[in-house]
């Protein structure tokens, strides 16, 4: 091919003598970084040995073997199998899953509410703008822990199950929890979720591939419909193949409670509303400033071709605002995940809540805290990584 002319020289200009090595910029930079890493590791090791020495002198056990011991406590809300006869590690996993669930739900709600309120802030409608501003100022400026407590108090003051708030046959609101009708549980659902996950991954890969293909060949492949077909079609197909189960399970009063349908605990709900509303206030401001960062000329050009305001928002402003929105949005997501650790004030068994119990029972505070810190670090870094990938996706092509 003709690319020979433009090919960059393959080897870097390698230093030849010892003198060159000593003054090579690349080698110096690496050297200082290695030195730094070694120093940090040494310090860490020193501190660790120190703590272990002190603890052994006071006859306190060290190490992580306690994770295999039987926990001996019950957990109110669990999504994976667990009994008081399970291990501490098991208990931690229950807490981790609970943290992940409340964080994921919180991120979704905070994003939807945040975008709606943020757009309302610049809607041009005086009433709507004032309302949105008021909402933002309240949810941003009340400490998140107070908000969670506020919601748990509200939910605990709902009527008891025997005279619940009734939403037709579809739901009951009580101080024991919120009960809703839902498709009756079948093993098919598991496969449908799996199909959904598979479809989303396939859609992302397909979109990236289509973009590459266009960049290489100049041919445009619209991935909107195939993508939707993958995401929604696959679970639907699984449902059809499984014989299309349509049974609905309704919550029915039984004893002091309800059976059937799905139930959401007051603790989960309070924590969820608390952390997601708090984050939605910040997200709304991020969205507002992203929208306002879009040059005026863009809106004028869109008006000049007679686009309706909602199309201007959808197709011209938001895609450009996303560039500005995504990086700070990432840090809101990360702080929402960390905020979920206030679960203990409402009694939701998240990772910290369970870790705390474990710490009190075993007395191995250093290890328990280390485990929790590492887990949070892992979750937060994963969230950042995903958002960074997304950011690359919304970035605008320049030369």
């Amino acid at each position: 091919m003709q690319d020979h002319y433009h090919a960059a020289p393959t080897g870097r200009n390698k230093p030849r003598s010892l003198h060159d090595l000593l003054y090579s910029k690349a080698i110096r930079t690496t050297f200082y970084q290695v030195l730094m890493a070694v120093a940090i590791c040494a310090l860490g090791l020193f501190l660790y040995n120190n703590v272990v020495d002190n603890l052994t002198r006071q006859n306190i056990a060290t190490g992580f073997s306690f994770l295999g011991q039987v926990s001996n406590f019950e957990i109110g809300e669990k999504l994976i199998p667990y009994t008081p006869r399970s291990t501490y590690l098991n208990a931690l996993m229950v807490g981790l899953v609970n943290t992940l669930v409340v964080s994921a739900a919180g991120i979704i709600i905070a994003t939807v509410v945040g975008f709606m309120v943020g757009i309302a802030r610049v809607s041009g409608n005086w009433m709507l703008e004032r309302l949105a501003l008021t909402y933002v100022e309240i949810v941003r400026n009340v400490p998140v822990i107070l908000q969670a407590i506020f919601w748990i108090v509200v939910l605990r003051n709902l009527p008891p199950p025997k005279n619940a708030f009734v939403l037709g046959e579809f739901g009951f609101l009580t101080n024991r929890g919120l009960y809703f009708a839902a498709p009756a549980s079948t093993p098919v659902h598991f496969w449908m979720w799996l199909a959904l996950a598979f479809g989303i991954v396939a859609c992302i890969i397909g979109t990236v591939a289509a973009r590459r293909y266009r960049e290489v060949t100049g041919r445009y492949v619209d991935m909107l419909l195939p993508g939707l077909a993958l995401i929604l079609g696959l679970p639907f197909l699984v449902w059809l193949v499984a014989g299309a189960p349509t049974e609905i399970s309704y919550p029915v009063p039984k004893g002091f409670n309800y059976v059937g349908g799905v139930s959401i605990s007051p603790e989960f709900t309070a924590l969820l509303i608390g952390i997601s509303m708090y984050a939605s206030g910040f997200i709304a401001e991020i969205v507002r400033s992203g929208i306002q960062a879009t040059p005026k000329g863009q809106v004028e050009a869109a008006r000049a071709i007679a686009l309706k305001p909602r199309f201007i928002m959808r197709y011209v402003i938001l895609p450009q605002a996303m560039r500005v929105i995504v990086p700070p949005l990432t840090s809101q997501y990360v702080s929402l995940i960390k905020n979920s650790s206030i679960a203990v004030v409402v009694g939701y068994p998240d990772l910290v809540n369970i870790g705390n119990t474990m710490m009190n029972q075993t007395g191995q505070a250093v290890e328990a805290i280390a485990v929790m810190m590492i887990v949070y670090l892992g979750i937060s870094l994963t969230a950042s990584l995903v958002m960074n990938l997304f950011n690359r996706f919304v970035a605008i092509k320049e030369r």
Partner: protein
């Protein structure tokens, strides 16, 4: 029924138009008529209200008194009127204002698909047709920021043309361009003029005004000072203000 108005054969009729920005009066009693197929060039010193005037025509700015009719339809606060008039008027800006997150082709098809509700396939075909007209069909799948200024402005012209408007407004379309790119954009505009498009062009390109315009308008301090066909406007200007302006601009 939309209120219509007999404007004789003028496609655009502006009468005693006034506009204020706060306390500051930008336009004072502007009267202007543009007939079908006519090319009007507006010139005048910086800050004289040229941009404001043409931006009032498609309501990127609101006027406070006076009237604007486009094809007999008055530009008022009525959303239906605004939309109907905007569909019929294309506008090209000094700074191109292409949508940077969309490819050239997507820039061109956005209006046709969302406003004119064309099928994507038809919109693509239409867009390619206009890209060929402005001589850059090979750039269809690039992003605007990957093009030169002159190419971007030609894309912007094609984007307006894709709405198949009857009238085109140009606000200093060549002022942000390097000299060697000005010509390619002016050539595109001349071709458009030859095809019979009604055009209002704010520009300092006096050569373009001489060859293309039916009427040249001089604005100063928010008022129209002089209007006339290029021969008399350049050859025998009636007003002192016009003479000093032409002296200044033709000296360069």
């Amino acid at each position: 029924m939309l209120d219509t108005h007999d404007t004789n054969d003028a496609v655009i009729k502006i009468s005693s138009l006034c506009k204020w920005f706060g306390q500051f009066k930008v336009l004072t009693d502007v009267d202007l008529e543009v007939r079908k197929g006519e090319r009007v060039v507006i010139c005048g010193p910086s800050g004289s209200g040229k941009s404001t005037l043409i931006r009032c025509i498609n309501r990127l700015e609101e006027h406070q008194s006076g009237h604007i009719w486009v094809n007999g339809l008055e530009m008022t606060d009525n959303i239906k009127n605004i939309e109907a008039i905007r569909r019929n008027i294309g506008m090209v800006f000094q700074s191109f204002n292409l949508f940077p997150h969309l490819t050239v082709l997507e820039n061109l098809t956005l209006g046709p698909t969302l406003v004119r509700q064309m099928k994507k396939k038809d919109a693509d075909a239409l867009a390619m047709q206009f890209l060929e007209k402005v001589c850059i069909p090979e750039q269809a799948h690039k992003y605007p920021l990957q093009l030169s200024g002159g190419q971007q402005q030609r894309v912007a012209i094609a984007r307006s043309l894709c709405m198949e408007p009857e009238i085109m407004l140009f606000d200093e379309p060549t002022s942000a361009l390097d000299p060697e790119m000005i010509k390619e954009v002016l050539d595109t505009m001349i071709e458009l003029a030859d095809s019979g498009m009604t055009m209002i062009v704010v520009t300092h390109e006096m050569g373009f005004a001489r060859t293309v315009a039916n009427n040249v308008v001089l604005m100063a301090d928010g008022q129209i000072v002089e209007t006339g066909p290029p021969e008399s406007f350049f050859g025998n200007p009636q007003h002192e203000r016009t003479r000093t302006f032409l002296d200044q601009i033709l000296k360069h």
